[in-house]
């Protein structure tokens, strides 16, 4: 299964990069999201995936048993997911606003900072 996930990570990275290299702003954002997902999965995988052992202490115990899914990457990813939502929302609105002002979403036409757009 790890092999499959590794391939998916590679795919996500490749797709993210490819989308970011397009000239459209919308594709840029989609690429960013894909890349973020890839990174999340990467962190998740590196914490050693375990089936059916969530990091939750059984009600009769005081500690986790011998085998458990690593809680640290999970906490990291949880934070990352939520933050990336904020980031995405902001990026989407930025694109929309930029589109309204400069009337283009072609990145190649957005490379000047001056008024002579």
């Amino acid at each position: 299964m790890e092999i499959l996930l590794v391939i998916i990570i590679g795919l996500l990275y490749a797709a993210g990069i490819y989308m970011m290299l397009r000239r459209s702003l919308v594709k840029l954002i989609i690429g960013l999201i894909l890349l973020g997902n890839g990174a999340n999965l990467l962190i998740f995988l590196l914490g050693k995936i375990v089936k059916g052992q969530p990091p939750i202490i059984a009600s009769s115990e005081k500690m986790l048993g011998e085998l458990y899914a690593d809680p640290v990457p999970q906490a990291l990813i949880l934070t990352a997911i939520v933050i990336s939502f904020g980031l995405q929302a902001f990026a989407i609105i930025l694109v929309k606003r930029a589109y309204k002002v400069v009337k283009t979403d072609d990145l190649d036409e957005m490379n000047a900072t001056d008024e002579d757009l």
Binding site: P54, S59, V82, I92
Partner: protein, 136 residues
């Protein structure tokens, strides 16, 4: 999307989902759940309601702008973190009540902290979504 069925369903769905989100928030310390997930659930509840009835109605139900929840939540989280300072502990030390409360379990400062997170998440999500749907 403003069909009658959806409208009617959403009227019952909103309190139900809100209740569920609070349940998720409270049990977070022992079982899967917590402030982040709970907050997101609650936001989804409001968003569904606004899809069915329009944003104005949803706003009427809320009676105040969701953005208001952000400072409240932040303040709550900060205060719960700062509370131990008054007891001579360092910032963010967990404080716990002696006896467990039924259903929730033991109540401690961490719960208030999580509630702060819950409020901020609702505030942020709804501000973003409402602003966008109004701004169009």
């Amino acid at each position: 999307m403003k069909t009658i069925i959806f409208k009617t369903a959403s009227a019952y769905l909103l309190p139900l989902l809100l209740l569920f989100s609070i349940f998720i928030l409270l049990r977070g310390h022992y079982l899967p759940g917590g402030g982040f997930v709970g907050g997101l659930m609650a936001s989804i509840a409001f968003v569904i309601h606004s899809f069915a009835n329009g944003i104005d109605k949803t706003k009427n139900i809320m009676t105040f702008h969701p953005g208001f929840l952000m400072p409240v939540g932040l303040l709550l989280a900060l205060v719960s973190g700062a509370l131990p300072l008054f007891f001579g502990d360092t910032f963010m030390t967990g404080l716990w009540m002696e006896n467990a409360v039924p259903v929730i379990g033991k109540v401690g400062s961490a719960l208030f902290f999580d509630t702060g997170v819950y409020l901020v998440v609702i505030g942020v999500t709804l501000t973003i979504i409402f602003t966008i749907s109004e701004g169009l």
